[in-house]
């Protein structure tokens, strides 16, 4: 019996890869396994190779694996493209229809199952996904009843006849492969899981759910990969709460509509990726200048320009921090797990209103789209803090306006919503006085700039960093952000096996930078590896600028569109731990 296994399905986009994955993983989730998914897909609808990989484990996991145990292939391209990933003795389940061949040099067992023929015999080739997932399920020696229940739920609303057909397809796939293999495969049998059902979702789902919990009632957004799932989720849910999603004409309208709604008192959000964020920058400056709270999600993807729209990258960091003209206070928060996607979304709304600033929630494609098990979400932890809002303002003797931008000790001024009697004030992106009237006075200008920045002087963010620091003086401090944490932890186990001690720090608050928390850990380590999915080391530069220790920092970068694998991190950290300098490492091709 094994405690974990990796499974992948490949085929042409639009061929049922997604649905096979969904039904297979839903059934596994039902048994209580921990799952971590990875989607390889292209920016097109039909055609082009696509594959989904799931890691299945009896213990929590947050990373894809280096290798693969089972590959399900709908075409030869899927075999040719993915077979190198199979571990020695791995299994290929392929559609007999195309006469599958195991590539030379690959040590794998091939089971050719007439996937398409069985589906067509049962009425439609659409049921290929059922035959394929049934075959996969059977090889693992898992109980078919659980799978059938998942099928019932997936197809129940289409009527009993459809359910029955699909169950039959699963059964036929299972029977056929078991006959070929002579029963479930030894060495592929999974230990039973704990039976406790986990939540199973993508980061974008968790953000959507978090925004509902936070009281978000309007979302204005423009479709873009990999952010669209958030608006698609919320348009299904918000009408129940009286709100809505507005699909705007562009991202500039999305952010300015969110600013308008937020100004008028509704918690509002927009979500996009790099190209959309670029368009929003001027308006983010307006929110900063006018102190209107707003939440912006950036699901980072491969840039620049259209870049790699369906691939992993973490290259918006600098743009998110510096990307508006002039200087405004803002908060950039980077959740590093599916649970944090939920809690940080709630936190983002609270921070935005508490400090009256734009808050950017930065994920990356793997975190936003990788489907994974999620620990139970705690209702008790949902808290709503709307900050310094005033109501029922007493009449004033004179006809002066309300001092919405009053100079206060902590810089946070009383916020009043339109509709409130005696609260009338002006709001403008022009530099302004306490009542919001345009002002070019140098004295006022300086005071206002200082007031706005003073708001973040005592910023209170939950867990600005995460730390796994078992060593007092580690050989390495590995620093990452976003979705890379789980993979780093896997690599650290291997580093430990080689006698290289490491601590792990995840930076969650990218701006304002948590200098003291980070400094303390950096000082203890002999060397610091900053690991990120971009070409120029944006996180490392941020650390160098804010904390220092330039001489100790080694960049580990990956910007080919794919997430880090544990083995890569292991190798590169091992090299980094040696005595070579960064230049020498680069020259030797070690980094």
């Amino acid at each position: 019996m094994i405690s974990q296994l990796s499974w992948k399905i490949g085929g042409q986009q639009g061929e049922g890869v997604e649905s096979t994955d969904r039904i297979f993983s839903t059934a596994l989730n039902r048994l209580g396994y921990y799952l971590y998914g990875y989607r390889h897909f292209s920016s097109r609808i039909k055609g082009g190779h696509t594959n989904n990989k799931i890691r299945i484990s009896t213990k929590p996991i947050r990373a894809i694996s280096d290798d693969l145990d089972i590959l399900v292939a709908f075409d030869q391209e899927s075999i040719d493209f993915n077979a190198h990933e199979l571990r020695s003795g791995g299994v290929i389940v392929a559609d007999a229809k195309f006469g599958p061949v195991v590539p030379e040099g690959v040590d794998a067992k091939l089971f050719a199952v007439p996937i398409t023929s069985i589906a067509e015999e049962l009425g439609t080739s659409l049921m290929k996904n059922m035959v394929a997932s049934g075959a996969s399920w059977a090889l693992l020696g898992l109980p078919l009843e659980v799978f059938n229940k998942a099928v019932e739920e997936e197809f129940g609303r289409k009527g009993p006849a459809i359910v029955e057909k699909n169950i039959e397809a699963v059964k036929r796939g299972a029977e056929f492969v078991l006959e070929l293999a002579g029963g479930p495969l030894e060495g592929f049998k999974l230990e039973p899981a704990d039976g406790k059902q986990k939540l199973f979702m993508i980061g974008n789902d968790a953000i959507g759910l978090g925004s509902l919990a936070a009281g978000c009632r309007i979302m204005s957004a423009y479709p873009i990969t990999p952010a669209s799932e958030i608006m698609e989720y919320l348009i299904k849910k918000l009408p129940k709460f009286g709100g809505t999603v507005v699909q705007t004409e562009d991202e500039i309208a999305a952010i300015t509509m969110a600013i308008g709604a937020s100004y008028a008192g509704v918690r509002t959000m927009t979500a996009s990726a790099g190209p959309g964020l670029s368009l929003m920058m001027e308006a983010i400056g307006l929110a900063g200048m006018t102190e209107i709270p707003v939440v912006i999600v950036d699901t980072q993807r491969g840039g620049p320009s259209t870049g790699l729209p369906t691939k992993q990258e973490q290259s918006d960091i600098s743009a998110l921090i510096y990307g508006t003209h002039g200087e405004i206070p803002k908060i950039v928060l980077a959740p590093s797990s599916i649970e944090e996607c939920f809690y940080d979304t709630i936190q983002a709304f609270n921070l935005a209103e508490k400090y009256q600033v734009p808050v950017i929630l930065a994920t990356d494609l793997q975190l936003s789209l990788g489907k994974q098990s999620c620990e139970a979400l705690d209702f008790e932890k949902i808290q709503i803090d709307r900050g310094y809002m005033v109501k029922d303002i007493p009449d004033r003797e004179d006809s002066s306006m309300f001092n919405r931008y009053a100079f206060t000790e902590n810089g946070i001024s009383p916020r009043v919503l339109p509709g409130e009697k005696n609260g009338i004030h002006h709001v403008t992106g022009v530099e302004h006085d306490e009542a919001g009237r345009p002002s070019e006075s140098p004295v006022n200008r300086k005071k206002m700039m200082d007031k706005r920045f003073r708001k973040l002087a005592k910023l209170d963010v939950e867990n600005p960093i995460h730390l796994h620091a078992p060593h007092a003086e580690p050989d390495l401090l590995i620093v990452g952000m976003g979705s890379t944490g789980g993979t780093i932890d896997q690599a650290r186990l291997r580093l430990n096996g080689e006698g290289i001690t490491s601590n792990h720090m995840t930076v969650r608050l990218l701006h304002p930078f948590p200098v003291e928390e980070v400094r303390e850990q950096m000082e203890k380590a002999k060397k610091i590896v900053v690991l990120e999915n971009n070409a120029t080391g944006q996180l490392a530069n941020l650390i160098k600028m804010n904390v220092g220790h330039h001489d100790k920092i080694v960049n580990v970068l990956k910007y080919d569109g794919n997430p880090f694998l544990p083995a890569e991190i292991f190798e590169r950290c091992k090299n980094a731990a040696g005595n070579l300098t960064q230049e020498e490492l680069v020259k030797n091709g070690n980094l």
């Binding site: 509902l212 809505t244 500039i252 509509m257 308008g260 100004y263 209702f379």
Partner: protein
């Protein structure tokens, strides 16, 4: 009930003496009083340019945003609090050049706000460059040999985009302008009012006298029917859009807020944000 004086504040506009924008400011104040608004229930959202400053010159809630984006901000305000009367305002450059995309889509979306364009056919605040509303051959600092680009006809575009309320006025005709703004506010859905507002400093062609000579008041056109979209379109084409009055109104179509599934009748801004435990559990259960 508030009088129009209560919509005044003590801020002196920075417009040039004689600018058409003064009358538009007055007309908004008069119309707001005439429809029975209190200052705190009005929000004026404006763009950038000379005209964009108008939100600061009216005693009401106001937001002076960024260039070309008054409309999406105004729509956001209205969605958040549908009890507010929301007026968006800005110049022809703001609404028909940099913000044209938003104008067309705000028209299509039909959220219940009123958009007043202060159309002077020139860029004033940047000291005299061509605008999409400038006439062909119009000489400006950016078109010293005369503009060769076609003059935009925003009202024809509005009709083609499904507008439910299209009007045009002239800043000298305070009575007509005030009445049109009142009608625009009372219209359910998006109302567009384009107002000829002469720039006395940089536009020496489209002057007060020029407008007086060239515009046709629809009140003087026999049998004009503002509920007839085809008639509206042909009148605009026939006159080069030089007509004033209510050009088109569709009273049948409901506003966005009244059509969108599930949208609350009471202002969203006044709702409780708290999620019930049972509701939360139901949402979470979908991910099991």
């Amino acid at each position: 009930m508030a009088t129009f004086k209560e919509f005044r504040n003590n801020i002196k506009p920075n417009w040039c003496p004689g600018c058409g924008d003064f009358s538009i400011q007055a007309a908004i104040q008069r119309a707001a009083a005439a429809v029975g608004l209190e200052p705190e229930n009005l929000a004026v959202i404006s763009g950038i340019g000379c005209s964009g400053r108008i939100s600061g010159y009216i005693n009401a809630y106001g937001l002076h945003g960024i260039h070309g984006r008054a409309l999406p901000i105004a729509q956001g305000v209205k969605l958040a609090n549908r009890d507010l009367t929301v007026i968006a305002s800005g110049g022809d450059g703001d609404g028909f050049a940099i913000g044209m995309g938003h104008t067309v889509h705000a028209i299509r979306r039909n959220i219940n706000i009123t958009y007043i364009v202060m159309d002077n056919q020139i860029y004033g605040l940047t000291k005299g460059q061509t605008s999409p509303r400038s006439g062909e051959g119009f000489k400006t600092k950016s078109t010293p040999e005369g503009s060769v680009e076609s003059t935009l006809s925003p009202l024809e575009i509005a009709l083609a985009s499904g507008a439910t309320f299209v009007a045009q006025s002239f800043s000298s005709d305070l009575k007509q302008l005030t009445s049109l703004i009142e009608q625009g506010i009372q219209h359910e859905g998006f109302s567009l009012i384009n107002v000829f507002s002469p720039c006395v400093t940089f536009n020496k062609v489209n002057t007060y006298d020029w407008f007086k000579e060239n515009i046709i008041n629809l009140d003087t056109v026999p049998d004009y029917d503002p509920s007839n979209r085809a008639m509206a379109m042909s009148k605009l084409m026939e006159t080069g859009s030089m007509i004033t009055g209510l050009i088109y109104q569709n009273k049948e179509k409901k506003s966005y807020e009244n059509m969108v599934h599930g949208f609350k009748e009471e202002p969203l801004a006044q709702q409780s944000l708290a999620l019930e435990k049972a509701e939360f559990d139901k949402l979470v259960a979908e991910f099991v």
